[in-house]
Assembly symmetry: C3
Homo-oligomer: 418 residues x 3
């Protein structure tokens, strides 16, 4: 009887934990609508169908490739796992134990899979915005499939699959993926933009011509949904419903987002002489990316500082990439790569793990993952470019990808500014 | 003391279960915004206020009629219930037991009511899209009230209220409502479209003129919110927070949605020669509707197959209904009726219950419910048509229902394409 | 062993309770996107960037000022608390006990803080809509910071911080803030509108010129998200996951929202001769605000009555404020102030606490809080007006605040109606 009671109590906690993880999964899912809205809002209306198409397909690509190979590449378990590579076989399935707390006190096998699959898909989405308005649809889909199905999980395994970055004396730390998700996506975006080149008309001689996005409400809807989704992204990364830890993470996450908005408002108003809504929106995301690596390690003050710095960084980073003619229509590289790196290093500078040794481990993680993703995505872009081509014709780019790739318009009822 | 501990343990599980069911209720609620956005996006801007108006009123109509009679028609309990009809009286209320696990281990009486009420309202919403752009507002509201208040719960009782379909030797199976919700809504949509006739200009002689929707971002927002809502629609249909079962259902649901997107992309790109965003969006919904009847019975592979087939079906179904001049502006009949039927039959073809006997029971359910809903909605449409009329004048239809029915415009600031 | 089991059982309940409170926090957060969408939709496209900017910054301002002082002004605890004022010091932090059920059976210290912070920010958002289309950005931000950081928590403390309104013989009752949140925001909106004056062209001599909002879909998205958020706003105000109480609250909340839509549809169709979508949307919000003070005290019938009356009130209130030339572009004063007052008084008229003594206490609360907020916000507006100025130039107002304050456009791709 005693042990029966104990079992029931354990099951109850398992039920609550798993419930939180399922809600976190739903919240991470809605980030895909956030990305779709943000990217559509920050680009021109002649490319909106194309953006929406990519973002509507990516969750499917992410979830299905993760089913086939990704999950088992990222979390090889004991079956076959080295320090840098492992694979637990094709497909997903579980025995009865996978449905109980024997599998994990925090979640079932299915919840584990789906939460991680939703994460995986976000990495591909990050690339989508940066390469928008000139990439061929088919080429993007091929890249995304291999990126999310192979590159993302292989490098993620180094830390979350208990690979070599996790096995260092002072383990690399990345709570919810400033590096493993955001900078991985960001590096893929950066190489993509380099292989593609800037949009027609963006840089004429030494002049930067701003190409404003077509709908600020869509952009704002996107960012709010991303903030909402981050409650699951970071909150779910606790991997249980632990009251103290999850609620701390939600507080640090929200404080960093808030301070990111402040930092970007301050920087754009002071240095760009205008309170720029796109900067504030990206500032919120910058704060969120920045806190992600150490959301469970920070107190309120550190969270505000990290968020505020991230918000300032993103403004200067956007200006910087334009200066070096890296054309990223939505600022994805600045948000996810630059602030992802900053956030990862911040674990060595602020909070419970601050110290030189940790900083050094963070740096090793940032650099090694960066090198791996730059090399692998470059190869991938190169192969795609030399086989399918990656850029639409200049006529199609000028006319818009909606007509060129989809023979449709996003807003057929409305007059466009010619 | 022993029994006190046991009671506390039971209460804790009840609290977690009920918590999940409340979250599922909230998720099903947000499907109404999904429908509103999708239907508005896939129709013309001159009818947007009208679409939004209908969708803003439907949840209220659904919830209030369900309070008055619907809940007690659908779940008559022991008070008065036959095989084909039952009624537990007017209004909702509960004693103290209704607030404890005595009522049900998974939820309180209030949670039960609200979850079911949110479901009911979705059935009316399905009709809304199909009859858009030409139905009189008042007539639609009268139809919806009677449809959701009487027809939906009376036929739902056959299965979920433990009526005759549930009492068959091999019971008809419909986990979350491919038939009971989606095809019921779909049949109501089909009869409505037949009584209304096609929109002016859609079919001229033997030619089908596409009438594109006015906002693809709205359509995409709608579909993502519907996918999100389906986490509650299917996940909540477990009727508890059971970790293994709910998490399986979320996985099968997401895999089917993903594969639905793939199937529709494949079919539209191959057969229609264009990667059509509206097809992909409807493909996601097709996969979701398709998996709904057996979301708890399938493994990953079956889920992917069901979703993929649903995604292909929806593309051909949309083309087919246009060929026979059934004018459904948003594809609701293809998504909810056709894929609802396929999904219901799929329970006999795939997964834990596959087999001829089950397939036969599924067919009985599909046909009997179809016959009942076609007859009752036809009578209802006929009565409404012969008393109030159901179609706006051709002048009003041409000018748009926003000015005609509401004396308003959805986007007064923007120039329209004439 | 016995006590160990008991402890585990207590912890499990604490985990489930805290989980619900975190979800409620996320739901209240999404209300900010609701407000942003609604306010943007109901105003002109030339001021959309400005609306979005304010609403993107407000959550940050709310959360950060609440971190600095607000939380400790509103919930001073035992440190230093009188009947009308208390303060627990600057900043937020907690010891280990704050992470356990020792702090509260329903939530951790961090959850408590974040849930309350999200509430605080909504009060500032209410003002935003009413003063839209003519207020200077900087002045609004200064007002908001002091309003949400000082005025809101100081007056909130009177009831929720166990101040004098809570200590009356028959305590003032305000379950989730019809008065403490909505009317506080509403009074701030009213004084703001009076100090600002109406928009150019709204009232010409004795004529009221309607200035329609630019996007009905945005407005509808806003209201649906607010209804969703209210599941957390009211449901979270139970302060635990108590199955019976939370589920009752969700039912009363949804019934009132539903009936609010009906009431507004009825009133606008009957008296304004047109089924006005903006009235129905505001009717939903009116029902929600109306039920908020007593959402835990009402049965289904009372909830429907309160919602229906609120829906009618809001229509007449909007007309009334236009008649006395109080120009509120989004109807925020009618929704939040007028229905907030009605809902607070309704606690004395309907439900478990109905009675003259309670009604009298409700009246004391409404009036005393009204007087305090009118005086303090008037002083604040006056100081801001005489130092920074509060209204943009008439040239800027005519051209739009997007170009004037932000040098941007919300929809650069589309032709505007001149």
């Amino acid at each position: 009887m005693e042990s029966e009671l104990t079992q029931s109590i354990t099951n109850n906690l398992f039920t609550a934990n798993n419930l939180w993880m399922m809600m976190a999964t739903a919240l991470v899912f809605i980030m895909h609508l956030g990305f779709a809205s943000l990217e559509a809002g920050l680009t021109r209306s002649k490319n909106t169908v194309n953006i929406l198409f990519k973002n509507s397909i990516i969750p499917g690509i992410g979830i299905i490739t993760y089913t086939l190979v990704g999950f088992n590449l990222m979390y090889p378990g004991d079956d076959f796992a080295g320090a840098v590579f492992g694979f637990a076989g094709f497909g997903i399935s579980t025995d009865a134990a996978g449905l109980t707390s024997e599998y994990n006190v925090g979640y079932t096998y299915w919840t584990d899979f789906l939460f991680q699959a939703m994460f995986a898909a976000t990495a591909a989405t990050i690339v989508s915005g940066a390469v928008a308005e000139r990439i061929k649809l088919g080429s993007f889909l091929v890249f995304s499939t291999l990126f999310v199905g192979l590159i993302y999980p292989m490098v993620g395994m180094w830390k979350w699959g208990t690979g070599w970055l996790d096995a260092m004396d002072v383990p690399f730390y990345d709570f919810a993926g400033s590096t493993l998700v955001h900078s991985v996506g960001g590096w893929g975006a950066l190489t993509g933009v380099i292989f593609l080149g800037p949009r027609i008309g963006k840089y004429v001689k030494s002049k930067v011509n701003p190409i404003p996005g077509h709908s600020m409400p869509l952009a704002a809807i996107g960012v709010f949904l991303l903030w909402l989704g981050w409650f699951g992204f970071n909150g779910g990364s606790v991997l249980s419903a632990d009251p103290g830890l999850v609620s701390l993470v939600l507080v640090t996450t929200s404080l960093a987002a808030s301070a990111g908005a402040m930092g970007a408002m301050f920087a754009s108003w002071t240095f760009l002489k205008s309170p720029d809504i796109t900067m504030v929106l990206n500032g919120i995301l910058a704060g969120l990316v920045g806190i992600t690596a150490g959301a469970d390690l920070m107190g309120p003050t550190s969270s505000i500082i990290i968020g505020f710095i991230s918000g300032i960084i993103v403004v200067f980073s956007v200006v910087f990439f334009d200066k070096i003619k890296i054309d990223d229509p939505v600022g994805a590289i600045s948000v996810h790569l630059v602030c992802g790196i900053f956030g990862t290093l911040a674990v060595g500078l602020f909070g419970d793990k601050a110290g030189f040794d940790q900083f050094w481990s963070q740096l090793i993680g940032v650099v090694s993952i960066g090198v791996f993703v730059v090399i692998t995505t470059s190869i991938l872009w190169l192969v795609v470019k030399s086989t399918m081509g990656i850029r639409v014709s200049s006529e199609e780019e000028t006319e818009g990808l909606d007509l060129g790739e989809h023979s449709m318009e996003a807003y057929p009822d409305f007059e466009k500014v010619s």
